[in-house]
């Protein structure tokens, strides 16, 4: 109540300042007059009375000031005064203001940009209701790693577990949409409760129904908002209409809201999921078995159930299952991964590292600005001394400085926001690897709040050094004409310390960038096991009823390869079910004759490439032993396969694998005979070691793959062959969709894009920090030279050797640099281990990087000291002595 009244009356007096002032004036002068009258009454002379009153009560002005400053609104008023004064001061020295604002714009702008990235990718809420209750449920593999589940397992989990409100599964699906030009889409097959599990409701139409989730009634799809706009002209009556995909008619159930962006697949090569179809499995189907690990389970925990509780419960369920079906599980237990961790976990480490790195840039910018301010503070000593003598308190002067610096920082922040607006565009150009949710990156309220907060903190931080400095200024010294305040030694020490900080921070950043650079260059030297040069890849999947016949599929691909190979400018061509580095995972159990475990599930698995003859030649994968597969390996001939080096080494150590027999996938199927050993390829990425691999003739695989990638080795630029290649395929069947037409080198590039992204950013930060530090070093040295012009003149006049003097100046300039280098190396030793996960074949304490960076920094610093020192040598002693 009284607070409210105080606020309202305070506000009123802010607006009625004149009126209030006038009244107070009248009251006070009345008071003093009455007091004087009293004294006169006591017999004093008028002069004596006035003097006595003055002594007792002070002047009207002082009393007025006291009353004014006791009220809270006076603080607001003086702040406004401070701000206006700050604007005037900054306008008076436009050069200083420009440099300061530019420095801050670099520091704050970079921070805003990276924070907007962190905010968009990591901090924004996921597009699911109560997303913290969603978790992926994996089967636990033998080494504790998470594994996909089979449909039968899912059904048992769903029936037996009580921790989940909903449990759904999904698997990837790439249908060809035949609306207009046939287009291959990225999609998912999901159980009918999938969207209910996520907590997403269709915007148009209805959700999937449980009865639709069965083998023969499963032709229902859900569209994403973007697909609905792109392919169906935002038709509001789309629900219930028929669309043709893969030559089959599907009914559209509904359209999801625009706010829902699927995050379930983040393959940068594939694009986001735009269509969902009901899974429609049944336990009787061969692919619904317990060992058919191709489904991902996602569950919504019941309210109040912790993830540990759910894990414990599911472990019990899983133990019972593996007891009931001992040959169908290789281990018991489950792994639960919270959805946030699953989707964003991989992105968070590099992003937080970037945020850390960019904060270093800001610190360097702060140190630089503090340095500038210190230099200015020395020049402003007299001004401040005058203000102190006129009655300004120290807190008032500090407040003034704070106002100036905060204003500077806010200006810097405003300037920094301009480049930060372009962050999304820059990211698109640079390429970010597989960072999810980049569409969420933009400037929002939280980013702006962050920026303003950072700016104010910066303002306060940069004020610390000059404030400390000023608070120690002796008023009398500063007022003396032409004084070279004794404070300049303390000031120089303070500025030296700032240089130490700058150098240490820059060095740390440079070392980080250096380590990443070495990693990337090492990685680029890694051979992927194949030669991507001059190879064009394009993906296709067979479309139409006639391809239900396996023989037709085999014939189709054999014919397509034949026509592609015959094109002018084509050296060789082949097709494969998957190609390395393209983001596919297709593994089959690998059961070696005589070495099959009692539980075949415990046998290892190998990456399966189902290929046409000529694949090795086109990809330049070396054949190490035995023979390549050929056109003679038809469905009628004996089943043969090729294996990778790792497979040979792991399965037949010290033996010759040629002629050995294996079963692939299922132990009930016929034997395959190893006929050749080929070099390993890096399938997952250049930075992960090759796993077991096998190559199976497309003609011999019992269910020939309908989705294949063509690889075409050309004599010239691979992209140039693209139109002819598409034409060749369409000359067999013009309705077949072709997608992902890209040179193989792009896949190699994509696999290192994430690292390149981190390197470019940290490299840029390091470069900014280095430039700022060099400016700082140069500034300190040249300022101290300028301050000591007279001293240098005297020394020269007294006969000092210029060379000695030069070395002295250089030594003094380099001293803080050397301290900074030592501090920076120590700091880096502690900090670089956080980078370890982003390094490749480089130790976080790599001596070469450390040495190189130190050398670079010292060389640049010497140059920065050299110039002002040289300048000092040209000082004419006569001029110097007349200085001032």
């Amino acid at each position: 109540m009284s607070i409210l009244r105080s606020i309202t009356s305070g506000l009123r007096s802010l607006f009625r300042k004149k009126q209030d002032d006038f009244e107070l004036n009248e009251e006070l002068s009345g008071f003093l007059e009455m007091a004087t009258g009293e004294k006169l009454h006591q017999g004093m002379t008028r002069k004596e009375a006035l003097r006595a009153v003055r002594l007792e009560h002070g002047s009207v002005e002082i009393a007025k000031e006291e009353v004014h400053s006791s009220a809270w609104e006076s603080i607001a008023e003086t702040c406004w005064q401070d701000l206006r004064f700050a604007v005037r001061m900054l306008c008076k020295s436009p050069g200083f203001t420009a440099v300061a604002v530019l420095t801050l714009a670099l520091g704050i702008g970079a921070n805003t940009a990276i924070f907007s990235l962190v905010n968009g990718v990591l901090l924004r809420p996921l597009p699911y209701r109560d997303s913290d209750r969603l978790t992926i449920v994996w089967e636990k593999g033998r080494d504790g790693s998470p594994e996909n589940v089979g449909y039968a397992t899912y059904l048992d989990w769903k029936a037996q577990s009580k921790s989940f409100e909903q449990l759904a599964i999904y698997s990837s699906w790439q249908p060809v949409l035949q609306v207009g030009e046939p287009e291959q889409l990225s999609g998912l097959r999901v159980t009918s409760n999938y969207f209910r599990t996520l907590g997403v409701h269709p915007e148009i139409g209805r959700d999937f129904l449980p009865e639709e989730d069965a083998p023969n009634t499963n032709k229902v799809v859900m569209l994403s908002h973007s697909l609905w706009q792109r392919k169906f002209n935002s038709d509001p009556n789309i629900a219930g209409k028929l669309v043709t995909m893969n030559a089959t008619q599907y009914i559209v159930a509904g359209v999801l809201p625009a706010s829902y962006q699927s995050l379930m697949t983040q393959d940068p090569r594939g694009g986001s999921v735009e269509i969902w179809r009901v899974l429609g499995y049944d336990v009787s189907q061969p692919w619904a078995c317990r060992t058919c690990h191709h489904l991902v389970a996602i569950g919504r925990l019941r309210g109040g159930i912790a993830i540990t509780q759910a894990t414990a419960e599911m472990d019990v369920v899983s133990a019972a299952l593996s007891k009931a079906y001992p040959k169908e599980y290789d281990d018991t237990g489950v792994v639960l991964t919270p959805i946030r961790e699953q989707l964003l976990g991989a992105a968070s480490t590099p992003l937080y590292i970037l945020l850390g790195a960019v904060s270093f840039v800001l610190l360097v910018a702060c140190a630089n600005l503090a340095n500038l301010l210190l230099a200015r503070a020395t020049n402003r000593q007299r001004e401040i001394a005058v203000r102190t003598t006129l009655g300004a308190t120290r807190s008032r002067i500090i407040r003034q400085l704070l106002a100036e610096n905060c204003l500077l920082s806010l200006l810097g922040a405003a300037a920094g926001l301009i480049p930060a607006c372009w962050t999304p565009k820059v990211l698109a150009v640079v390429g970010t690897g597989d960072l999810p949710r980049l569409d969420q990156v933009h400037l929002d309220g939280r980013v702006l709040l962050f920026t303003i907060g950072v700016a104010l903190l910066t303002g306060i931080a940069t004020s610390l050094a000059p404030t400390y400095r000023l608070s120690r200024t002796a008023v009398h010294d500063s007022l003396k004409e032409g004084s070279r305040g004794s404070g300049s030694v303390a000031s120089r020490r303070l500025r030296g310390m700032l240089v130490v900080c700058e150098v240490a921070l820059s060095l740390t950043l440079l070392i980080g960038a250096g380590l990443l650079l070495r990693s990337l260059s090492r990685l680029l030297l890694v051979s992927p096991g194949f030669d991507p040069a001059n190879v064009l890849s394009l993906q296709t999947s067979v479309l139409g009823q006639r391809f239900n016949d396996n023989e037709v599929v085999r014939q189709y691909f054999a014919e397509a390869v034949k026509r592609l190979s015959a094109l002018p400018g084509v050296r060789s061509a082949a097709a494969a079910s998957q190609i390395p580095l393209a983001g596919n995972i297709d593994k089959y159990g690998f059961h070696v004759e005589g070495k099959i475990h009692a539980n075949p599930e415990e046998d290892p698995s190998a990456e399966r490439y189902c290929v046409t003859p000529g694949f090795l030649e086109t990809m330049h994968i070396p054949l190490l032993r035995g023979r390549d597969i050929s056109a003679a390996d038809t469905a009628a001939a004996a089943q043969v396969l090729l294996i990778g080096e790792t497979t040979a080494r792991r399965m037949w150590p010290g033996e010759n694998p040629i002629g050995k027999r294996v079963k692939v996938g299922d132990v009930d199927k016929p034997w395959w005979t190893v006929v050749g050993i080929v070099g390993d390829v890096r399938h997952i990425g250049l930075d992960s070691l090759p796993d077991m691999q096998m190559y199976i003739p497309h003609q011999q695989w019992p269910f020939p793959d309908g989705q294949m990638t063509f690889v075409i080795l050309t004599a010239g630029i691979p992209a140039a062959i693209s139109p002819a290649a598409q034409q060749a395929i369409h000359s067999i069947d013009p309705t077949q969709p072709i997608s992902r037409i890209t040179p193989l080198e792009n896949y190699v590039g994509l696999s290192v894009q994430g690292r390149r992204f981190a390197l470019i950013l940290i490299g840029a930060f390091a470069a900014i920090a280095l430039v700022l530090s060099v400016v700082g070093i140069y500034g300190v040295t040249s300022y101290s030279v300028a301050q000591r012009t007279r001293e240098i003149g005297v020394r020269v006049a007294l006969g000092a050797q210029r060379g000695v003097l030069f070395r002295l100046l250089l030594r003094q300039g380099m001293f803080p640099v050397v301290c900074g280098v030592i501090a920076g190396v120590l700091a880096s030793l502690g900090v670089t281990r956080f980078l370890a996960s982003m390094l490749f074949e480089v130790q976080p304490t790599d001596p070469l990087t450390f040495g190189g960076v130190v050398l670079l920094l010292v060389a640049v610093s010497v140059a920065a000291c050299f110039i002002p020192a040289r300048h000092a040598m040209r000082v004419d002693p006569i001029v110097a002595l007349r200085h001032e």
Partner: protein, 110 residues
Amino acid sequence: MTDKQGDLVQGTLDMLILKTLALEPMHGYGIAVRLEQMSRGVFRVNAGSLFVALQRLQRAGLIKGEWKATENSRRAKYYALTEPGRKRLSTEKQEWGRQVAAIARILEAS
């Protein structure tokens, strides 16, 4: 003067002003003189402190000011207790009495 006042328990000045005004409305100088007289010259309040306190009390709604003519036909702002001010004075008086008694008990116990 100020030193003496520094010795005053925080907030005592406010209570004394309220007490002074409880008798009759008065202007600033009158309050100062009355305080000095009633305390037999122990408390002398300077103009600055007095008007700070008056502003504070006025904002808290404990007193209100009105411009009137003085006996010497000069204009001055007369302050008067409001109803909340009267209540405050009585609670503060009680509280003060309790504290003084307590302090006295402590000092006399030995």
